[in-house]
């Protein structure tokens, strides 16, 4: 429950801090994140509007509301997973910082890169299993169990895509660490 204080888009949109290939990748990722965040914002709005519509349609037209909840679920799941990389770019996934405040800066840098590598391993595994899930849903034409029955490839695909972006983002952050270390070593 972080205080939502800092302006969004502050990170990820700024000028690239690295030269060469890494800088190009950084800019590309920032552009993707901007796009994805825009889509995520729209998805949140759509979800709110759909649920609002659901209240009124039930009340005014006595219409059954079967598809609204699922559309809202898909929108929000999609928004959340796709924005995962953008939040990671701002280091917005909260952790317990007690240890980092007592360690020396040098050890802390090593700690943070080890943490990133572990996070990368977890996210890569999760992304891989999301794609296999997506593939399964695609081959078996899986749908949700409601009468509306939208294909499950939609949320699974969004989850897989989001986790993949997250993997790329963390990999880039690890690459920054080594790039900085090289600069320090040579300079």
């Amino acid at each position: 429950m972080s205080p939502a204080a800092d302006p969004p888009g502050a990170q990820g949109g700024g000028p690239a801090r690295h030269a060469g290939l890494l800088g190009a990748l950084e800019r590309a990722m920032a552009a993707i994140n901007r796009l994805v965040v825009f889509a995520g914002m729209l998805a949140l709005l759509v979800a709110s509007l759909v649920l609002t519509y659901s209240v009124f349609s039930r009340y005014l037209f006595k219409a059954a509301t079967d598809w609204q909840d699922e559309i809202a679920v898909f929108c929000i799941v999609g928004a959340v997973f796709l924005a995962g990389a953008w939040v990671q770019a701002q280091r917005g996934h909260v952790g317990i910082e007690a240890l980092s405040s007592v360690l020396s800066p040098g050890i802390n840098r090593i700690r943070s890169v080890v943490v990133d590598v572990l996070t990368l391993a977890f996210c890569a595994f999760f992304a891989w299993k999301s794609w296999t899930l997506f593939h399964e849903a695609w081959v078996d034409k899986m749908t949700t169990s409601s009468t509306f029955a939208p294909p499950l490839t939609i949320p699974y695909g969004l989850m897989a895509l989001g986790m993949t972006l997250l993997v790329v983002q963390i990999a880039l952050q690890i690459a920054y660490y080594f790039a900085r270390r090289d600069t320090r070593a040579s300079g």
Binding site: P3, A72, A83, F122, T132
Partner: protein, 452 residues
């Protein structure tokens, strides 16, 4: 491996991984997957993502981002400041009225925004300077705001309560209603304390004036004319109506809790467009961006906590721990005290969302076996976790206050907050002795609970 050893290993590894500073969401997922790989059939690893998706794809859980959106819309407009000014103008005749106005504004705003830190920053940035200008001691002013902000997770709609309702499988509507009584009790206790503390500081200032002629802002009375008071209403009333309207839609049976979230978000956006002319994409961007950021962070933690609990339950760790607690044959109230203590300790490290989802499978069965009403306990647990927001070492609200008023020393803020922590303990005792404070309103509105 024995159950105890497995449980200790699981708990130990989790603490260790979290202590490295790995984001909470990824720590939980990481530990879950490692234990799946080591102790569960290989096939379980193949379904891990499906598992997370199915647990998360509940519209009740996914209404959380929409509640956050509603809060962000209101929190980032000037509604907080206006609400505060109006409250202040209307309550100025009561002794200590300014402090009480702050408590009331925090409560109202928190109920609309549903977020403690957002309440602290919105009301605090107007309230703290004003209280200090009027001579309130900095610690007292900071304490009122930090404590007032916590009311957000008790008054509906509260994110913490949504998660509890999901984890404990209790009625969310009933739980929301059960929070109202204790919420009002806390408002009353905080207000009484504010009045008492005001009287005390006023006497000190008055005595100093009599003795040495030291002038204090305390001794000045600022008055508003009726005209001024009425002028302030049009900007505030829409938000109060929004608050009441959304509750009405929920309890009148017009909307499900998740639809209430969507409706609330849309209405809040419409209101800030009409009242504060916030409607351009460039103005809405920060609101939606902040919502997306906080929601993503939170939903990742929730999704991974659910996976973590799933592994814990598959390996029978939660069940064994629950049985072990039952087998200790603690007296009813000892059990409650021990569990609340556990929640307080966890609150030192973890945000409320993870505490609920990780501990629910362990602590709820013994409580149910001991005959406690889980709705009632949900309210108690929420208050205990609220306290975690204002006591060190995490005390998120304290740091929000530190941000708004950087010149107040941290020690002053903490000393200012402590009496309110005490008052929360008083509230907990009162709710234990008079459970009707929590269960009375839901019983009256929705009928007595169905006995399971």
């Amino acid at each position: 491996m024995s159950m105890l050893a497995l449980g200790l290993l699981f708990g130990g590894v989790t603490l260790l991984v979290m202590a490295t500073g790995m984001p909470i969401a990824f720590s939980l997922g990481f530990v879950a997957i490692v234990f799946m790989a080591l102790f569960m059939p290989a096939a379980s690893l193949d379904t891990v993502t499906q598992n997370v998706y199915e647990e998360m794809a509940s519209i009740t859980l996914l209404s959380i981002p929409l509640f956050i959106l509603k809060g962000a819309a209101i929190g980032r407009s000037d509604a907080g400041r206006d609400l505060y000014l109006a409250m202040h103008a209307w309550m100025q005749r009561i002794p200590g009225g300014l402090g009480i106005a702050n408590v009331f504004t925090c409560a109202l705003f928190a109920a609309m925004a549903g977020s403690s830190p957002a309440t602290c920053s919105a009301i605090g940035s107007a309230g703290i300077p004003e209280m200090r200008r009027r001579g309130y001691s900095p610690g007292f002013a900071a304490g009122i705001i930090a404590a007032g902000g916590t009311l957000g997770i008790l008054l509906p709609p509260s994110i913490t309560m949504i998660l509890y309702a999901v984890a404990a499988e209790v009625s969310l509507g009933r739980l929301f209603l059960a929070g109202i009584g204790p919420g009002l009790l806390l408002v009353a206790l905080f207000s009484l304390y504010a009045a008492y503390r005001f009287a005390k500081e006023f006497r000190t200032a008055h005595a100093a004036f009599e003795r040495e002629g030291t002038h204090s802002a305390y001794l000045e009375q600022k008055t508003y004319s009726l005209h001024e008071k009425i002028e302030m209403l049009p900007r505030v009333l829409p938000f109060v109506i929004l608050l009441i309207g959304v509750m009405f839609a929920l309890y009148g049976g017009y909307a499900t809790p998740s639809e209430t979230a969507g409706l609330g978000a849309v209405l809040a956006l419409v209101l800030i467009a009409v009242v504060y002319h916030v409607w351009r994409p460039v103005q809405l961007g920060p609101i939606l961006g902040a919502t997306l950021k906080e929601s993503t962070m939170l939903m990742f933690i929730i999704g991974m906590s659910l996976l973590f609990s799933y592994v814990m339950s598959y390996l029978h760790i939660s069940q064994s721990a629950a049985q072990a607690i039952v087998a200790m044959h603690l007296s009813k109230w000892m059990l409650l005290a021990a569990i609340l203590f556990l929640v307080i300790v966890l609150g030192f490290f973890l945000p409320p969302v993870s505490i609920i989802l990780m501990t629910a499978p362990i602590i709820l069965p013994p409580l149910r076996a001991a005959g406690f009403d889980l709705i009632w306990f949900g309210v108690l647990m929420t208050i205990v976790m609220e306290m975690g927001l204002i006591h060190p070492p995490v005390g998120l609200n304290i740091f929000v206050i530190k941000n708004i008023a950087p010149d107040i020393p941290l020690a002053d803020v903490i000393w200012g907050v402590l009496p309110f922590v005490g008052l929360m303990f008083v509230a907990i005792f009162l709710i234990c002795f008079f459970p009707g404070i929590a269960t009375g309103i839901p019983d009256a509105v929705m009928g007595p609970p169905v006995v399971r």
